[in-house]
């Protein structure tokens, strides 16, 4: 079966790439200056210890290094991390040594995925019709307005929008929508909208472009020559063909949006993955940082795989290679 062979090939490629990503990330963090102790919040506490009891300080450091295997040769550490990651056993973080990273992830990851997924869905629901209308009314004032709006959405980063929302709903209309925290439906609205706005622009512009391109194709004229009614022609022949190409944009956008949750979660005080990861980097918490890189990288690759599968399924000309 072609598809089985394709999947095996791709999964092997994913594993190899993931190993490479982890190795690169780890080596970079290892060799570059700075460490957990110089940057974390406990640095000052440790500094005091070093002054008061140098011996105890050394013992503490050594215990810490042994505990996390930092005393081993670099290649061994790298291999260990690769193995850990591929078996989804990420160990514990430095910052929070009593809670496994996995259990932290179980709370945080769904929140971020929910935000990203929600925003992509919202962006599709709004962006698709906008793009279609712009394409069908191309070069009209409506098209210019929609296109300019889309471009505006695309250009303004989610975090700027998030701050603007906070201003709006915190200062101008306080109390209408919650601007901080997580748990209720209200908490979802603003972060999802901030994340969705750039995606709305991206989708609308892409759909407009590809639909205009499709409408120029000969087979559209064939459909018209067959007497297929206008709207059926638009939906059955034109939109179907332009959406096939949209898949290749939705996938990467989703992955990108997951990364984008980092800022938005920070701003809205949402206990998602992004917040957790940002602090991991800030503190040079290797296990947590590696895990985050690993997860996002994995997300990108799996999304790409799904995109390729969908594309091959939707477009009979595409062969899984």
């Amino acid at each position: 079966m072609a598809i089985v062979r394709f999947l095996i090939k791709r999964i092997v490629a994913i594993i190899l790439t993931m190993s490479g990503v982890i190795a690169v990330a780890y080596v970079m963090m290892y060799y570059a200056p700075g460490s957990f102790f110089s940057s974390s919040q406990i640095a000052s506490a440790l500094g005091q210890l070093a002054v008061q009891d140098p011996h105890a300080y050394q013992v503490t450091l050594k215990m810490f290094e042994e505990r996390y295997g930092l005393d081993k040769p670099l290649w061994e550490q790298v291999l260990k991390y690769i193995w850990y990651s591929l078996t989804f056993n990420f160990g514990n973080s430095y910052e929070n040594p009593n809670v496994s990273i996995i259990s932290q992830l179980k709370v945080a990851l769904p929140i971020s995925l929910e935000l990203a997924f929600g925003s992509v869905v919202v962006a599709l629901i709004i962006g698709l019709p906008l793009g279609i209308i712009a394409a069908l009314k191309r070069n009209s004032w409506l098209d210019y307005t929609l296109s300019t709006l889309s471009m505006t959405g695309q250009a303004i980063p989610a975090f700027v929008l998030a701050v603007l929302f906070i201003l709006l709903f915190g200062v101008v209309w306080p109390g209408t929508l919650p601007i901080n925290g997580w748990g209720t439906f209200g908490n979802v609205v603003l972060p999802v909208l901030s994340l969705a706005a750039p995606n709305i622009g991206t989708f609308a512009r892409f759909v407009r472009g590809s639909l205009i391109e499709v409408l120029r194709q000969d087979y559209i004229r064939t459909a018209q020559a067959k007497g297929v009614p206008y709207w059926r022609m638009i939906f059955r022949h034109a939109i179907r063909n332009s959406l096939t190409a949209l898949i290749t944009v939705v996938g990467p956008t989703f992955a990108f949006t997951v990364v984008g949750t980092v800022w938005v979660e920070d701003i809205f005080g949402i206990p998602g993955l992004g917040k957790m990861l940002a602090s991991a980097f800030g503190n040079l918490d290797y296990p947590l940082a590696i895990t985050s890189v690993y997860l996002l990288c994995m997300l990108v690759m799996v999304t790409n795989l799904i995109v390729d599968l969908c594309y091959a399924w939707l477009d009979p000309r595409v062969k899984l290679e």
Partner: protein, 328 residues
């Protein structure tokens, strides 16, 4: 002609290109009789495709029909609303196009594309449509129709795709088939296959065919009657016999002279100097005058009208009589 299937009268079409207005079709009149094979011949830019596409409302957005009528079965197609025109397209008038490689929807099974036209016009139930599609594929000479029904266009050769286009065009048994350069993109051996298939269909179904082509050889061997177009105007209309025996318009004559054919090796080929114009103002002159050896001042100042010379032979040339005398 009272019994004509389609009568186009004084049709004019303009296109807007950047700041220029292009006069693509300028007062074209002709008719097609039931069952007739009419060839519309001309070089690129002569308006031959635009003429028929505009009648069916299929020209690009920057095009506009500025005058004329196109009466098909007692109704002026140019006055119909979109919905009414859609009912006629595909059901009463079928169309095939130049490039079979791009004229089929790439993500739809070919069988579904054939069925769609029958279902759109409610001429068959889905079950009947399927049966009929298989029949059509068979008729088109496509082996294993049940299997091929489920294939996508990219799995067919150019010739096969053109056969599928024909199947779509004739699925509802239209009275008129418009074939816009149907063989230009195909190899000569395949061209012969497609033309003979079209001829057979014409004979068995009594369908009229309007064949748009730049190839005089194709038109003269396939069609009963020919229309020669130049710069958006009909310059000559003639039956095949008349066209062969007594071509009259200087453009037709020059073009026939300039075609290189097998056996011309030892003959001088007389190319027409210059090239066909793109009209950016309405032609109140003869558009061929600048390339015409017979041109006089009148040709540059007055537009020649199509005049009848008997046997349905019409020529739009001020000096047709003199040309006739000089040449024949």
């Amino acid at each position: 002609m009272a019994d004509a299937l389609l009568t186009v009268e004084n049709l004019a079409v303009e296109f807007q290109r950047n700041r220029d207005r292009i006069y693509a079709v300028n007062g074209v009149s002709f008719s097609i009789a039931p069952g007739e094979a009419l060839g519309i011949v001309g070089e690129s830019g002569s308006g031959k495709s635009v003429t028929l596409l505009s009648v069916l409302g299929l020209i690009a957005e920057n095009g506009r029909i500025t005058s004329g009528s196109a009466v098909f079965q007692g109704r002026d197609l140019l006055k119909l609303r979109r919905r009414e025109l859609e009912e006629i397209r595909g059901r009463d008038i079928g169309m095939i196009f130049q490039n079979p490689m791009t004229s089929l929807n790439p993500v739809m099974r070919v069988g579904d594309q054939i069925m769609e036209v029958m279902l759109t016009h409610h001429v068959a139930s889905p079950k009947e449509a399927y049966r009929r599609t298989i029949e059509l594929l068979e008729e088109m000479g496509i082996p294993e129709p049940e299997v091929r029904f489920r294939n996508y266009p990219h799995e067919f050769s150019g010739g096969m795709r053109q056969r599928i286009m024909i199947a779509i065009a004739i699925a509802c048994n239209p009275q008129l088939l418009i074939a816009d350069e149907p063989t230009t993109a195909l190899d000569v051996t395949v061209q012969m296959q497609i033309l003979s298939l079209l001829r057979d269909l014409r004979q068995t179904k009594g369908m009229a065919v309007a064949l748009i082509t730049h190839d005089f050889g194709v038109a003269a061997n396939f069609c009963d009657r020919l229309i020669v177009m130049y710069a958006g105007s009909v310059v000559e209309v003639a039956s095949r016999a008349e066209f062969i025996r007594r071509p009259m318009h200087p453009y037709t004559l020059a073009l026939k002279e300039s075609i290189i054919e097998v056996g011309h090796r030892h003959r001088e080929v007389r190319a027409i100097p210059g090239m066909a114009p793109v009209l950016t103002s309405p032609p109140n002159f003869c558009a061929f005058a600048d390339r015409c050896p017979f041109a006089i001042d009148r040709c540059r100042n007055e537009r020649p009208q199509l005049r009848s010379f008997g046997n349905g032979h019409g020529v739009a040339c001020h000096r047709a009589e003199e040309v006739l005398e000089l040449v024949h």
